[in-house]
Symmetry: C2
Subunit: 495 residues, 2 copies
């Protein structure tokens, strides 16, 4: 852990004020530059009680242009937050690119507080720390500059500080019984904090321990750290951008996925009357299962992926017809909005994670990252390769929260696609469903097969398995989807 200098010897008011004008000027310059940069800054100020988290944030905010800064502190989760996975509230707080988010405590607050109250036991703590590591890695990999400051005081310094604050009538309100409690259990908290810091001190998201004894030195240290890390980040980004792009998107990473895809028999037959009878049966069953999930406050996320014209729309329609319209929402995934583009690619999906007991149906999904973005070059090789892990982690967070994640890949043959494209072109009211891009994608069929194969192989987890749906026959495909949805829901509700 790097310890930033400052604080050892007291900084005189005069020396402090002499440094301020240049420092503030540099901070303004930083913000002007940042505004046009393709990344954001996440600055976390954590540390011991009495270390002056609030004051240093206020001082720093005063030095910065408040129009480019947002400050967050997380107290009690709201009910909307409690009904979603832990990290949802942090995702939704993230600033857009070009801006600074200052976090008072942040994801660390709750983790440490729960430990202090012994509400979080060992394994829970480790899980929480893993979540944090993944979250910060994901942000940092995406270009976010993460700066984490831990304000440090010794037990005696903390005691003196609390006394000092308590003695002044202007600040006495800021010292609570829980602050004194923190001082009494200082050693235990310090051990836990040390553990947390050690476990989350990673490249891209390192901690800096700042001596909080001298307020002026502390403020200067934080501001200087911000300036210095920003400069380093800019330099590193420039190097990164000029580095190679030689990896080809069409080489399989894990050929077994593509083999599984190609081995799928596609030409089933199903007569209309048999289809209708069975459909009614499965729709009824699905309706009951979704209601059962809902009363158990379990949400369901359906993911539909597949070739153009594989029949996603029709299948979603049939599936949705089993659910009360007030309980589900279909999210059609097209081009991201400019607000969405200004965030990590998963942000737009986190946004729509359903409240407890509700259903979200994604018509295309986050898998666009490893399909179209991989093949069209919208994502760099390091980005789409990283995405497999990020996606697995995302889905794991959903399922750990009790959300049931049901994923379908609708597979048709290349010939069948051609037939359907032509039929669309021949039917006036289906013409809107086909455009040049569809034909363009079709020409890249075998490249897509590689990408789909990798996706199937690398994101096929027990907690969120892929269902491959042979879809040359629409009736058969729809029935399969209903059946597999019922099976997965049944299994999930038993656990």
């Amino acid at each position: 852990m790097p310890k930033a200098s400052g604080g050892k010897q007291r900084l005189s008011k005069k020396a402090y004020e002499a440094k301020l004008p240049a420092l503030r000027e540099q901070l303004v310059q930083l913000q002007v530059k940042l505004k046009d940069s393709p990344f954001k800054i996440v600055l976390i100020i954590a540390g011991v009680e009495g270390g002056g988290r609030g004051e240093s944030i206020n001082t720093l905010s005063g030095w910065l242009d408040p129009r480019g800064v947002e400050t967050f502190s997380f107290h009690q989760a709201t009910d909307e937050e409690r009904e979603r996975p832990l990290m949802w509230r942090f995702w939704r707080s993230l600033p857009t690119v070009g801006r600074i988010g200052i976090y008072a405590g942040s994801w660390y607050t709750e983790t440490l507080r729960e430990e202090a109250e012994s509400a979080k036991t060992g394994p829970d703590l480790e899980l929480g720390l893993r979540r944090i590591r993944h979250f910060e890695k994901l942000l940092s990999d995406n270009g976010t500059l993460i700066i984490k400051v831990w304000l440090h005081l010794t037990k005696e310094q903390q005691r003196d500080r609390l006394r000092e604050l308590g003695a002044d009538e202007d600040t006495a309100w800021r010292v609570s019984e829980s602050d004194w409690h923190a001082n009494r259990i200082y050693d235990r908290l310090a051990r836990t904090a040390g553990h947390i810091i050690k476990e989350t001190h990673r490249r891209g998201a390192p901690w800096t321990i700042v001596d909080a004894q001298d307020e002026r030195a502390r403020n200067l240290t934080i501001a200087t750290l911000l300036l210095q890390r920003f400069r380093e980040h800019e330099r590193a980004r420039t190097r990164l951008q000029s580095s190679g792009r030689a990896v080809t998107a069409t080489t399989p990473l894990r050929p077994s996925g593509r083999r599984r895809l190609l081995a799928l028999p596609l030409d089933q037959h199903l007569a209309e009357p048999e289809y209708e009878e069975k459909r009614e049966k499965w729709l009824g069953r699905l309706n009951r299962l979704v209601r059962e999930a809902s009363s158990a406050k379990r949400s369901v996320v359906f993911v539909f992926e597949g070739w153009d014209a594989a029949g996603k729309g029709g299948a979603i329609r049939r599936l949705a017809s089993a659910i009360d319209a007030r309980d589900y929402r279909v999210i059609p995934v097209a081009k991201p909005t400019d607000e969405e583009k200004s965030h990590h690619y998963l942000w737009r999906f986190w946004r729509h994670v359903p409240r407890a007991g509700l259903v979200t149906i994604y018509d295309r999904s986050w898998y666009g990252r490893v399909l179209v973005e991989r093949l069209e070059g919208f994502a760099r090789p390091d980005e789409w390769k990283r995405a497999f892990r990020e996606i697995n982690d995302f889905e794991q967070q959903l399922t750990e929260h009790g959300i049931i994640v049901v994923k379908f890949w609708m597979q048709i043959s290349r010939d069948e696609q051609l037939r359907r494209f032509r039929a669309r072109e021949a039917t006036r009211y289906k013409l809107h469903k086909i455009n040049d891009e569809d034909w363009r994608n079709r020409r890249k069929w075998s490249a897509y097969e590689v990408a789909v194969g990798d996706m199937l192989a690398l994101t096929n987890n027990a907690f969120a398995p892929w269902h491959l749906i042979p879809s040359n026959n629409k009736r058969h495909a729809r029935l399969q989807i209903l059946k597999l949805a019922c099976q997965q829901l049944t299994t999930a509700l038993e656990t």
Copy 2:
């Protein structure tokens, strides 16, 4: 109230099914057209218990492409919703243009339920209805197609329907004690509903009473209504677009505002030491007042408007320095994002309405509608003229909810602006603060004076008055702002 036909005589299953294919085809066509239209559809299905709101929504959803539809039903408000004005939850639910929002009950549900529970007394009900009228007028004025359906059953029909549902084991769960209660107090509810319907049956948002006795006829009637209203709406829009635009944006609507603006003395003097001493006093006072407001769960909204280079940024900085950084948020208002553009212009401001006890500082605001949008022609004359009332209504909703709305107009002379522009150009690190657009706006100074004057005259309400700040002298301006903020907060906290 128009009563839609259907329901008087039973519709046979055969006759019903014969009509479906053509109807569904038309609905799909509607959605394809809507997707490229610059408006949205809000379809409200309300009515008596047992009238089949849920079923008809489910049927209609099954006929539509679910990717272009969102269905909403509003139960208990979440805590995030309760901490904001009543209409906030409805604002945030609105679909974007090109989409259909289907509302089960919607803003009517709560109003009617509270009346039934006698929780809402006469004046409250009237206020609620006024809110609804304003909300629907605002949406409809903005081009939204609003369709409101009231599903009607007589007392006897309702009783029979509840019995029927209760007798079938598949549907028995849908009949609750409160449904039977509704049947017992049918007459009273019908009177209230009649009143609500009458008071909210307006051009742009008319009710259609649909006989809910025969389910099949009911479903057909709703779908037909949707198709017919969509066609009418398309025709009306075409007429509207081709109508005149002759009104000039630079003629004052209410000259008194401009006179007030021009009469403002601008050249005050304030020495540095006197400024610093007074500033500290007012900052301290403001800090206490904001904390007091916060512990009373009162939010504060600050609005900063003024000429380019009038000193908004600096003033916001000083003001913000009095508030704990974790309790305020500055919203810099620049060009809307594409998601924001796809909504009513007030949507992006509703979005940021603070939770109870927090502070939002808008750096420019919704007043852009009657300033830049008026003068640059981004809004049509009917649009910016309407905006005065919409804005007053918006601010009234905030203040009625207990939010304190503090508005500043920072006024400088044209010469002073020139001096500041030149100074910016001469200072390297201020160069980013000046661009061609600033110079362009400056050339329209007298036109802007007209628009500012109208704004000051037409949106200067007792609940949210305008503070005019002479700002040629920056120190004087900042002090005035702190002082007036304190005064308004003090007054507001006493009431």
